[in-house]
Amino acid sequence: MQNKAVISIKNLWAGYDSDTILEDVSFEMFQEDYVGLIGPNGGGKTTLIRVILGLVKPDRGTISVMGMEPYQGRKHIGYVPQFQVEDKQFPISVWDVVAMGRLRPSIFANFRMSSSDKQAIETALDQTGMLEFRNRTMNELSGGQRQRVYISRALVTEPKILLLDEPTSSVDSHSSTQLYDLLAKLNDHIAILLISHDLTAISTYVKTIGCVNRRLVYSGTKEITSDMLDIAYECPVDLVAHGLPHRVLPSHQEGHQHD
């Protein structure tokens, strides 16, 4: 198991209709990994997630999740989506959101929850410190609390891999620190793949970093190479502003606005 990749992507091309968004992406991830992928908006981060989750079929190349096709392997992925603003309107309790993680595929198989389901939901809520909020509705929670609920929902599926999409996008800095502490703990037994446009946050906590912007540069280290910067940002101003002053950034043409 030690050397078997949990996610393995080889020379993958993907996009929508004739629009290619990911080009020749290769990527391997292992059980003990904690990978952060950064990249600008529109650079294919979401497409990469959708490919891994089996929601978008690759045009070329191969992908396997836990050695299976994504649509089978995804049952081992605990997916933590970005919280959408319109979700706020939906009347649903914390408990019911986490209970989604225990759904069985068959339509009528979810008539009743077993006591082990309920136990698992309680444990997952406890792990993220959200148990006391179980009866609250989602729209009463802060951004950080909602992320914790989504992480609980992912944990309740007993995942081998945790896949997080912009986990701190609507979270204040204090809560986001707490969130990363939680993820570091979970990484003891779950591989984590985190995708974000926020380099600073990621680089402090993850074990290894990669960049995605149509192509993917990932060498399995925490170094941010000039290769990554080349593909990830047309202009590195954003990086300077966010920190990492110890990095020497390659010079680029000036006057470009990032994003």
């Binding site: 992925i77 997916y79 009347p91 649903i92 019911d96 989604m100 339509i107 979810n110 008539f111 729209n139």
Partner: protein
């Protein structure tokens, strides 16, 4: 007052109308909650108007208009629903087109049919007072099917309504559940059409849940309260309509709309209080 009520409901057609409105309220309360929470009110409007094509066709062929409406509403629900799942914006146009085609087809077939056609107006504006015992049976059946489906698949329905992507990733049968939901919308639209008419069906589907969700934050609760509200609007509407000799459908809708406006005010007050 009570004496007056017992007089009103001493007529069989009024008792039938009351019973029919209870069945419809049950189906509409449940289905309407799904419609509102999934934000497919306009899709439901499309289904209702496409159903009119079926009414016209069945009438032309000498069949029961309800059968035609059931057929058209089911097919259009599946077509528009599939398009809606592929692209939410692209479906918008298709819904508009099917909406008008349904009406056009209905009207053409009706004008091709010789004879007295006053009865067909009832599909546009409703004629709860003319409900037959066969209609009642059909309404009860559909209300029961809707109730059974929602009880059995409640958690799956809640899941796909709230987060379709996550449900897909968990390999929940999202397509099957979604399309079943659309078929139920189609069935409910058709039975409600008898009552308030297809033009006003949307109000009966969307207003009670819209009022209910101001007060409740739980899908099950919203379904139940929508049923209760809808039943109150209908019963009250029937009585007022009987006393004033105004058509029932519009009276019910006006009652519901008034409640909706009040609920908006209440929501304003509630949020103002919180801040």
């Amino acid at each position: 007052m009570i004496e007056q009520l017992s007089t009103i409901f001493s007529y069989e057609f009024m008792r039938n109308a009351l019973l029919a409105s209870m069945w419809i309220s049950l189906a509409c309360g449940i289905v309407g909650t799904l419609v509102v929470l999934n934000r497919i009110v306009s899709l439901s409007g499309g289904i209702a108007h496409a159903a009119y094509g079926g009414v016209g066709l069945a009438y032309y062929l000498g069949q029961d208009p309800m059968l035609g409406a059931l057929l058209f509403s089911t097919v259009s629900a599946l077509v528009m629903g599939t398009a809606h799942r592929k692209s939410k914006t692209g479906a918008d146009t298709l819904i508009g087109v099917m909406w008008s085609i349904g009406m056009a087809v209905g009207i053409i077939f009706i004008s091709l049919t010789p004879g007295y056609k006053a009865n067909l107006m009832s599909y546009l504006f409703g004629s709860i007072l003319a409900v037959s015992s066969n209609d009642l049976k059909l309404m009860a059946l559909i209300a029961f099917v809707v109730l059974a489906f929602v009880i059995l698949s409640y958690r799956s329905l809640l899941a796909i309504s709230y987060d379709e992507t996550f449900s897909t990733v968990r390999n929940v049968q999202v397509n099957l559940i979604y399309l079943s939901m659309l078929v139920l919308i189609g069935l409910t639209v058709v039975v409600s059409m008898r009552m308030v008419g297809l033009i006003l069906v949307i109000a009966l589907l969307s207003i009670p849940p819209a009022v209910a969700r101001v007060f409740l934050k739980d899908m099950r609760g919203i379904m139940l309260l929508s049923f209760i509200l809808s039943a109150i609007f209908c019963a009250l509407g029937l009585v007022i309509s009987f006393l004033t000799n105004i058509q029932t459908g519009p009276v019910i809708i006006l009652l519901a709309s008034t409640a909706y406006l009040i609920s908006l005010l209440v929501r304003q007050l509630l949020t103002a209080k919180r801040q």
